[in-house]
């Protein structure tokens, strides 16, 4: 099955997307961009921002389990690998390799 890459760089959502794979990837990216606690009545949805406060090595350890938890809201996506990079300005770039487990 093909693997895709998503990251936490903001990009506009295409609401008219017809391709099922791209729509699923958009969902996954949206979940990654979403922070835990910001969705009313669904406070566990989204990435736990507490991870950004951890030392980068520790964050790397916690990243994959956290992404697996986040992607429970998109069952068609399976996280294969993830990587976190700390930039000089303090921002963290997250890159995740995912597999979409549905037919094209």
């Amino acid at each position: 099955m093909a693997q895709y890459q998503i990251d936490n760089v903001a990009s506009p959502i295409n609401f008219q997307e017809d391709d099922i794979i791209l729509r699923t990837l958009q969902n996954a990216k949206n979940l990654l961009m979403c922070h835990m606690g910001e969705v009313p009545y669904d406070r566990y949805r989204g990435f736990d921002p507490a991870l950004f406060d951890l030392p980068i090595e520790q964050m790397r350890e916690e990243l994959l389990p956290e992404l697996d938890r986040v992607m429970m809201w998109e069952p068609d996506v399976e996280v294969v690998d993830a990587e976190a990079t700390l930039f000089n300005d303090g921002t963290v770039y997250i890159k995740a390799i995912v597999e979409v487990t549905i037919d094209e």
């Binding site: 017809d18 099922i20 389990p65 294969v80």
Partner: protein, 238 residues
């Protein structure tokens, strides 16, 4: 890296307070086979279907290196009873792309110290693959179909009804509208029929009335009074 592995919140790690490790990690993958039926290839087999992957390891617990032996061991045994499942992470990577269910935990070589303190123990864990899990090719190889397709269909239908193009949707819309059109036609036909019947009756009435009138006019003498009609007739003759 302080963390060696993780499964279902249970962390194998080396810190200043505790060393919780494991030995004898074994990953097993297998498939079922069946004999080939061709006469010439006797003795060969072909793949029938995949077997679930299996991971086994032994957790070494010791109170001397900071482990709460009894609690941790019994937690693992209870997890096996409950069939707890999660990904197994080694470092910051998944060992297998699928979730693993703890199917067996056997506690052995328990050393109990003074009182009820457990000094050391080993727990043999056996985990089995419990879902398809990404690129792993075990199982029957059936592909999952997304539920999103139905949602997509609905949305396209909506888009087309609101002016979107697409022959298929137009055909669908026309086919869907056919019964209502037929009903309307029947209603219109009935209304027209009623109107025609009533009109025919009215025409008949008028005709009979006109006939009666002409008959009565013929019976009356013309010269008694000069009527407008007679004048016109005379005018026409001029």
């Amino acid at each position: 890296m302080a963390e060696i592995g993780r499964w279902n919140g249970y962390k194998f790690k080396i810190t200043s307070n505790v060393i919780r490790g494991f030995t004898g990690l074994t990953v097993k993958g297998a498939c079922e086979t069946e004999d080939k039926k061709k006469k010439k290839s006797l003795g060969y087999v072909k793949r029938k279907q995949g077997k679930p992957s299996e991971v086994s390891l032994t957790v070494v617990l010791s109170a001397a290196i900071g482990c709460d032996v009894r609690n941790e061991a019994m937690n693992l045994v209870n997890s096996a009873t409950a069939g707890a499942k999660d990904y197994f992470y080694i470092g910051s990577h998944k060992l297998l792309a699928c979730k693993l269910m703890l199917v067996e935990a056997s506690l052995k070589e328990v050393s109990v110290g003074m009182g009820d303190t457990w000094i050391a123990a080993q727990v043999q864990l056996t985990m089995k693959q419990c879902d398809k899990g990404g690129s792993s090719s075990s199982g029957s190889g059936k592909k999952k179909k997304s539920k999103k397709k139905s949602v997509k269909k609905k949305s396209t239908k909506k888009a087309k009804s609101s002016g979107g193009s697409g022959k298929k949707s137009e055909v669908d819309a026309i086919t869907g509208a056919a019964p209502s059109v037929t009903k309307m036609q029947a209603k219109v036909a009935q209304t027209v029929k009623k109107a025609v019947t009533s009109a025919t009756a009215t025409i008949k009435k008028i005709t009979t009335a006109a006939k009666k009138l002409t008959a009565s006019k013929k019976s009356t003498p013309k010269a008694t009074s000069p009527s407008s009609s007679s004048r016109r007739i005379s005018g026409a003759t001029r």
